[in-house]
Subunit: 480 residues, 2 copies
């Protein structure tokens, strides 16, 4: 196959989609024949000087759309035409099949056995019996008033004092980011600061429409001096950040840095977007205070989600929005999907109202503390790596790899060995990254998987330190 | 109250939001005191040379956020401060209270008593029992494969031949428009043609980011000559349209015009966005063929929703997307809300698979045919108006008002008398409109409400034709 196409690096079309389209065209035009081998991921990455992850994403999409198939250890091959449009795999629920294949240290979503699904079944039946067809009407765009009221009440326990008028219900926190993007888009030029590294969903969401400046994160929060320099040089409109057990590093900000950023937000007149989904999951006495709790001047848009604390399938989260912005957010929600599911909002309202939430969080804390301690102790036994930060909460361990081991390469090695992690490249918006860290999340794995998975990581690192490379050989001895 | 603020008409901030902010500030700064009367809607509209509907939207929002209160027939007044942040009304489900207040000829959503809610309760319980917590995990961004497959199958009965790979599940058709907007946005300059008048959601969605050209609609579809002139003068990328029983006019396109627009789409290389949610609701033998069924060259993005045919609370619809665009649509869906509710997708899949859909549509057709015939016959008895088009399907009757009666004024008169309709101004994207039509939808009303509501319309028109004006008097004799 000739790689005679062009990849536009500064285009607004994502590179992996450009690559996907190019290869798809080659296959559709029969420039490469069925069962012929495609170039390796590395070959393409080197040829176009792009990230291997990007190539991998394109290949995954090609596989998903039935253009190619993979043979482990051999590579990727063009599918036969008659197979192109047929669905050979038919998992009952698409995602699970993928999830169950490997040990998933990449996912940040708690494993399904913790979901309070029986309580929800009961509540949902009760709602059907009491409200009948009303459940399936359109609901208010801002969100069910009762749900907004009980969220307001619960927020008081977290020292966040707001009104139900300032709450917007959303279909998960990704939608919250998308709504903010919509109101940002309407202001012609916007500059947003993000911490570096940060959540990749935020990078993807905001990078398209705004000038994005990254400021490094340190063990106690953002680098304040760097931040002030940026503020002095630029008219900054927003900063996006997580404050507690943030992704990917697990870092929590010190009280002093929280105070400082709030001071800055007044002095330099910008709005802080606080993405908070893990502050309830402190494992010792390190109770974590959201920035919003200290926000006396209404400079913070606060985002939280029930995906991690209860279950993602609810597709529910909320925002606390300063009064001067709430009408814009409601309008953006309307133009996105009119309103979130009424049934789910009613069910969540009853779940919160009847006090199921607090014992559920307590249970989560107990279970995840155990997983956290196990994960940390096993990782600390591996001499090749360094745990960069001890989070004492949340799901993420940020790991420094041995010198010479590129995190993207290690990602692929582990993937071949059925272990998923995330390399640092997905959390950086610019080229500062050194490809020397990976994020390990223990949200979705069992204790057995933690043990097996970390054993595989350990053996792989030993293999690397002995040979200073990997062989990608099929005969890698299974240590399962 | 002094109206000494400025409204920026060419701003990307919506005018009603500018007005809302301006008046809110006046109230918050105590430039007007509690219980003082605000200027009338007409006064503001005249002063700033804006539409009365725009002023009304601002006042509605002020009322919703507890800044003002209305006294019917007297006007709007500033709320006392201690009432500002309290929620005086607490309906169990916000929307219903509003809905039930009046006779709603504005809504395009079928009334709730038709929802097959018992079937869904049964199915949902079965899913809970069979799948447990898996129901609440993340689902595939493109949508549950089984659901996409059965939609593909059902589409064949509608002569649309596609693959589950080309289906994107969305949380209602508004989200489909939003996803298209997202992929349009990435192309720097885009020109979109809309029919005039058209669905206001589409105008709102696309007007922000694209050059929009409107082409008039006639009794058998778009004005083909005008369309070709536009195509010759402009590089058009998209056209947005409804083909069958379209909103607001109820018009269905002739086969010839459908063929012609498909021809154009090839010749001038543009994509057609077909928004189709009512083609199943033909009342006689006028079986209506979607444009997509005639689309042999993959020039049509087809949008459909289950909101009108089953119930809006499902928050589910789908798109049929040409292969070259599907990966962009999936990426846009991911950045919007990751995935739609898995539980609802599974439930809808079983509803379709078990054959509940066809008898349900048959039932809808019978019930709405009766409502249609009743509505039409009552309207045809009113000598002051003219039914502009006989749709024989769908929910909308497009009515020409008597000379001299401004549709915005009539909207307000009827609203005061607890009857909601929509004036033509909400369906036009430009200033061509003559304010002489209104849309009456019988989707959400009972037969009794149809009779009462049309009686109120009739009496109001008689009152107008006798006096050539309305008195807006409180003592309008109730004819309920």
């Amino acid at each position: 196959m000739k790689l005679n196409f062009i990849i536009y690096k500064n285009s607004s079309h994502k590179i992996y989609l450009q690559l996907y389209d190019a290869i798809k065209n080659i296959i559709e035009n029969e420039e490469i024949m069925p069962n012929e081998k495609l170039p390796s991921i590395r070959q393409i990455a080197i040829k176009f000087n792009i990230n291997t992850i990007t190539v991998l994403k394109a290949y995954d999409l090609l596989e998903k759309h039935n253009y190619i198939y993979k043979i482990s250890g051999k590579g990727c091959f063009v599918k036969e035409k008659n197979k192109l449009m047929s669905n050979t795999q038919k998992p009952v629920i698409n995602n699970f099949a993928i999830m169950n294949k490997n040990i998933n240290f990449a996912s940040a979503t708690p494993s399904a056995e913790l979901y309070p699904v029986h309580i929800f079944q009961e509540i949902i039946n009760e709602i059907f019996n009491n409200y009948g067809e009303k459940v399936f009407n359109y609901f208010s765009t801002q969100g069910l008033l009762e749900l907004r009221e009980i969220i307001t009440e619960k927020l008081k326990n977290n020292n966040i004092d707001t009104s139900s008028n300032n709450i917007q219900i959303v279909s998960g926190s990704q939608q919250a980011l998308d709504l903010i993007k919509k109101i940002i888009f309407k202001r012609k030029t916007t500059t947003i600061v993000v911490t570096n590294p940060t959540y990749y969903g935020a990078i993807n969401t905001f990078s398209e429409i705004t000038k994005m400046i990254s400021v490094p994160i340190e063990k106690d929060g953002i680098n304040i001096d760097e931040m002030e320099k940026v503020l002095q040089k630029n008219k900054v409109d927003f900063i996006y950040t997580m404050i507690n057990f943030e992704s990917p590093t697990g870092i929590s900000w010190s009280t002093e840095k929280k105070r400082k950023i709030l001071e800055f937000s007044e002095k330099y007149n910008f709005t802080i977007i606080e993405d908070d989904c893990l502050s309830h999951l402190y494992y010792y006495n390190n109770v974590s205070i959201p920035l919003k709790a200290m926000d006396t001047k209404n400079k913070v848009i606060y985002i939280n989600s029930f995906s991690k604390l209860i279950m993602p399938g609810l597709r529910l989260g909320y925002m606390v929005v300063p009064t001067n912005l709430i009408s814009y957010i409601i309008a953006a929600k309307f133009s996105s999907d009119i309103s979130s599911s009424g049934l789910m909002q009613m069910a969540l309202h009853l779940f919160l109202k009847r006090g199921y939430m607090e014992p559920h969080i307590e249970k989560m804390r107990t279970i995840f503390r155990e997983k956290y301690e196990l994960t940390l102790s096993l990782l600390q036994e591996i001499k090749e790596i360094e745990v960069s930060y001890i989070p004492n909460g949340g799901f993420y361990i940020w790991i420094k790899l041995p010198k010479g081991l590129n995190s993207n390469v290690f990602y692929n090695v582990l993937k071949d060995r059925n272990v998923s992690i995330l390399p640092d490249s997905v959390f950086y918006q610019n080229e500062e990254l050194k490809n020397d860290h990976m994020r390990l999340s223990f949200a979705a794995v069992t204790e057995k998987e933690i043990k097996t998975g970390i054993e595989i990581i350990k053996k792989s690192l030993e293999e690397f330190s002995q040979k200073k490379d990997f062989l990608f050989k099929e005969d890698f001895i299974s240590i399962l």
